[in-house]
């Protein structure tokens, strides 16, 4: 997770976000794939509105994840809301036990560790990014699609998810020549409607 944070810092820097914005983003958003998505869209000239919508849509999956993990959280509304911030893909997977139960110690411990590693890693990456040269000469623009492909592979677990992915990619590519920047990626979310039918 720390190295993942370093790569976010480097790529955010390459996309023109400076040093502090990536660190603040990691400390508040703490959801890797949405941060990479937002930064890459902004860096590619897709506009701030598109970047925000894409990132928020990617994070909607934390609503059902939070519901599932709610039983492992303690205290009043404020404390539960704070503890819920530590529920991310990795801590959720590590603490998941048989029968839909969650290991509270593992959930909080892994969540906190990941959080610190993510934020510190981002800072290191953002500062190191300065020392690196031209992002295109280093192939860093190819790092984004490669990263999204790896994240996608982890999400494709069924025929329906594979179909949604293929439809999303096809929609985005076919809309690219005929719509303004940013629209193809957002329009591709319509591909998830194929799941309603089934």
């Amino acid at each position: 997770m720390a190295v993942f944070g370093v790569s976010f810092g480097v790529l955010a820097r390459a996309a023109g976000l400076g040093i502090f914005a990536p660190i603040v983003m990691s400390a508040t958003t703490f959801a890797g794939s949405s941060q990479f998505a937002a930064v890459s869209i902004l860096g590619a000239g897709g506009g701030v509105a598109t970047a925000v919508v894409a990132a928020v849509l990617l994070n909607t999956r934390y609503a059902p994840i939070g519901l599932a993990a709610a039983g492992a959280l303690r205290g009043g509304a404020m404390r539960r809301s704070l503890e819920a911030q530590l529920v991310v893909d990795e801590s959720w997977a590590l603490s998941k036990r048989a029968g839909g139960r969650f290991d509270r110690g593992m959930l909080m411990g892994a969540g906190l560790t990941l959080y610190v590693a993510w934020v510190v890693g981002t800072g290191v990456g953002a500062m190191a990014g300065e020392a690196l040269g031209d992002p295109e000469a280093l192939g860093l623009d190819a790092a984004f699609p490669a990263l999204f492909l790896a994240l996608l592979a982890a999400q494709v677990r069924s025929g329906a998810t594979a179909a949604a992915a293929l439809a999303g990619a096809a929609l985005a590519l076919s809309l690219t020549p005929v719509t303004p920047a940013g629209i193809p990626v957002l329009a591709a979310t319509a591909a998830c409607l194929i799941g309603v039918r089934r």
Binding site: I41, L42, A54, L138, A142, V185, G195
Partner: protein, 103 residues
């Protein structure tokens, strides 16, 4: 660009904190309706695939096949071999960088 960056960081941060907190705060009201849960399951794959496609094969609103395609191909091999994410990303960047240097 700077104002846009902070707007992005602020709005995404607030929205994500709210989304993550919503589950534990709303629990007791039951889970998401099954249809909605299916939609959120498919949303991330559709969006991620669109990001892969547009960031590897488009440039200034045109479809292009350049060195990034080779990098993505190398990444696909790495994913198929179950390489860690970081290795996948570095392989893609390295292949792209080497092809650009040669071209």
């Amino acid at each position: 660009m700077n104002g846009e960056v902070w707007l992005l960081v602020g709005v995404v941060g607030i929205a994500t904190v709210a989304i993550k907190a919503s589950g534990p705060l709303l629990v007791g009201g039951g889970g998401l309706p099954a249809g909605l849960a299916r939609l959120t399951d498919l949303l991330a794959p559709a969006l991620l695939a669109a990001l892969v496609a547009t960031q590897a094969f488009t440039s200034d609103e045109r479809l292009v096949v350049d060195e990034r395609a080779a990098g993505l191909g190398a990444a696909a091999v790495a994913v198929a071999l179950r390489a860690p994410i970081l290795v996948t990303v570095v392989v893609a960047a390295a292949v792209t960088a080497v092809l650009r240097a040669l071209g």
